[in-house]
Symmetry: C2
Subunit: 127 residues, 2 copies
């Protein structure tokens, strides 16, 4: 198993960038600890550590929108990874967009929605 530098961060978490393996679109960023790194490698499905819920988080476990790992890239410092994934269901964002990065900074210093909405979050999560 590739050893990452988890000691680099005080909380033992490193950022993992999920990228669509075909389009190159950056879908989301979440965090991994050593065990979620191991689980991701073993299962072939992106498995993060949820900072808000303080538990392992198989992305898509509730919505069905899991991320199948196609390739993993590791950076020069061994403290960040890119999961190149097949985004099942087409949406990574809990707000129903393909990507969590569905807004851009516009010319007036505000935010403009540029991303594509794939599902209605109320219909999926019921909230």
């Amino acid at each position: 198993m590739v050893t990452l530098d988890f000691a680099k961060s005080a909380d033992g978490l490193l950022p993992a960038i999920a990228q669509d393996w075909q389009t190159g679109e950056v879908l989301m960023l979440a965090y991994i600890n050593e065990e979620s790194w191991k689980r991701t490698l073993d299962s072939g499905v992106a498995t993060y550590w949820s900072r808000s819920r303080q538990k392992f988080w198989v992305k898509g476990e509730s919505s069905g929108n899991i991320q199948r790992i196609k390739e993993i890239l590791v950076d020069c410092d061994l403290d960040t990874v890119v999961f190149r994934v097949e985004q099942v269901g087409g949406a990574a964002c809990h707000e129903g967009y393909r990507s969590c990065f569905f807004r851009r900074v516009d010319d007036k210093g505000g935010l403009a929605v540029v991303g594509e909405r794939v599902f209605d979050p109320k219909a999926v999560y019921g909230v």
Copy 2:
């Protein structure tokens, strides 16, 4: 100015992903604090906070390989950004590769170099 949720992290730093605006290649990940976010927006050049040196870091200030901002994407939680950049000099990585993510996890659980080396770091940094 778009207000990010810097209070989300204990150290006031948020991750910024630099992505080639034309190819979609993820080039690097570094951190920003509120002032480096402001400086990036004002200058149009990616400006991070160096955790190792504890100072502002205009990416490329020593190598000349600055990152001109073409577009900035903001995530749903306002705690991560994507800088879509023109990577001047063609290399984001201090090891001379186009991207810091120049290695992939191979089938045997090791690392294989897949990135393109653009310059010899010894020639640029003299170390």
